[in-house]
């Protein structure tokens, strides 16, 4: 067993873990943060996306011991004082989910996309979400939600147009 110190969603934790424990299992099973989900065995789907020191990672592809001394933010740590994060609100407003399984990862990656580029084009949003699969929505409303969140963040018009036929790239994911 290896001792780790990790800050998760603003709270410091110290735990003894097996080195082989994946970060996603540490979050779900040790800390009970089941908001972060596992959708695949191959690190393709992105459902498990969290932020490690502020950058998005697939938490099924990181060992808990690699997070020792670092800071993790999950979908459970982004609302403040009961107020949804603007990206959560935008997903809600734009109906950017159906079954909701991909949503925690989609939201965490969408936040990373805007951190990297506050004013992305529709194409840049689709490429930024390349590592996140959604089996339900066809991606259109997800892209609209990110556009709305970008708008509410920088004052430009919310819910900018998402054309129906421009969805080839993300829509074509395996």
């Amino acid at each position: 067993m290896t001792r780790i110190n990790v800050k998760v969603d603003g709270v410091d934790y110290t735990d003894e873990v097996e080195p082989r424990m994946l970060l996603v299992h540490y979050l779900r099973e040790t800390l009970g943060k089941t908001g972060t989900v596992v959708g695949c065995d191959t690190s393709n789907c992105g459902a498990c996306t969290v932020h490690l020191d502020g950058r998005s990672v697939k938490s099924c592809n990181v060992l808990a011991v690699q997070a020792d001394g670092h800071e993790v933010t999950t979908i459970e740590g982004i609302a403040t004082d009961g107020e949804l994060h603007p990206m959560q609100q935008a997903f809600h407003d734009c109906h950017a989910l159906q079954c909701g399984y991909c949503t925690p990862g989609m939201i965490m990656q969408s936040i990373d996309v805007l951190n990297d580029n506050p004013n992305p084009t529709e194409d840049e949003i689709r490429v930024g979400l390349e590592g996140n699969l959604c089996r339900c929505t066809g991606y259109h409303n997800i892209v609209r939600a990110v556009q709305q969140a970008a708008g509410s963040g920088n004052g430009s018009s919310a819910g900018a147009t998402a054309t129906a036929d421009a969805g080839e790239k993300a829509g074509a994911q395996s």
Binding site: T42, S43, N44, R55, S56, N61, L63, Q109, E130
Partner: protein, 284 residues
């Protein structure tokens, strides 16, 4: 799935990592960004007894200028390579290729050194490293050696890095002023290259003065398209001249056949992608 049990150490220097590697012998595996190794461990395709994590070794990270070269630490992430102006200005085709690797989450963790030692023939960084005539530094317990990229890739998943050694840095001669393009062919987003071409050229007036071209997934290692390079030099950067030269792109290659396409299809693709890449690199 979860990996089999292993012991874990996270040394903070190259010397300590090499000592840990020597002590553990064959049963150890080095962990870089983990973006290839962790899926392998999770699928139990490999079950080393000891994992030596390079993630805490600061001396292996970063990109610096050194005279006529830039030097990239093996543990530098794809994301840091992408953010680097030194890379963009002096090794444009590496920058171009890294934009095409996997997805942002994987680029935040995966490292250039890990990708090169993993040596997947469909991986995207081998070809630009080969085209740019990079020289790789391989460090062992008692000595350090340099290996030209042309001698680094040995076979599928096999490189010049031996047991007990680490890839520590990658030195790339500056290619300032060269145009570049990495042309990657995939059927869906987020896919490994079916075939890709790394092209970088220096144009004088309207003439191609120098050209360096390497192919991804056209054999068990990245391959240099030497015949195309030779016939491009001195030619005008026009569609006709480039098309003619690029007809030789698949010469001497032995690409795989799989569900994405058979060997002949890949050979045809190589000629088409090489033409596109060279024309784009030449600014056409």
């Amino acid at each position: 799935m979860i990996p089999a049990q292993f012991d874990y150490v996270a040394p903070t220097s190259v010397a300590d990592a090499l000592a840990a590697l020597a002590e553990a012998g064959d049963d150890a595996k080095v962990l870089a960004g983990g973006q290839s190794l962790l899926p392998i461990l999770r699928m139990r395709l490999n079950a080393p007894e000891k994992i030596i994590d390079l993630g805490r070794i600061e001396e292996l990270r970063g990109i610096r200028e050194d005279g006529d070269s830039i030097v990239i630490g093996a543990m530098t992430t794809y994301a840091d390579v992408l953010a680097s102006d030194l890379v963009r200005e002096n090794a444009g085709v590496l920058h171009d290729a890294v934009t095409e690797v996997a997805d942002p989450q994987i680029r935040h963790r995966g490292t250039i050194g890990g990708a090169l030692v993993h040596a997947d023939p469909a991986g995207d960084v081998g070809a630009p490293i080969l085209a740019l005539d990079a020289v790789l530094t391989v460090t062992g317990p008692s000595s350090e050696r340099t290996v030209p990229a042309a001698e680094f890739f040995k076979d599928l998943f096999e490189t010049a890095v031996g047991d007990g050694e680490l890839l520590t840095s990658i030195r790339i001669p500056k290619h300032a002023g060269w145009g570049s393009r990495y042309e990657k062919f995939v059927r869906v987003a987020h896919q490994w290259s079916i075939v890709a071409v790394a092209a970088t050229v220096r144009v004088e007036g309207d003439t191609i003065a120098e050209a360096a071209i390497a192919l991804t997934n056209m054999g068990s290692t990245p391959l240099r398209a030497t015949a195309v390079e030779e016939s491009l030099v001195g030619k005008p950067a026009t569609d006709d001249a480039v098309r003619e030269a690029c007809a030789a792109a698949a010469d001497g290659t032995n690409p795989p056949s799989d569900l994405n396409g058979d060997s002949d299809y890949r050979k045809h693709l190589a000629t088409v992608l090489t033409r596109r890449a060279v024309l784009a690199a030449a600014g056409k």
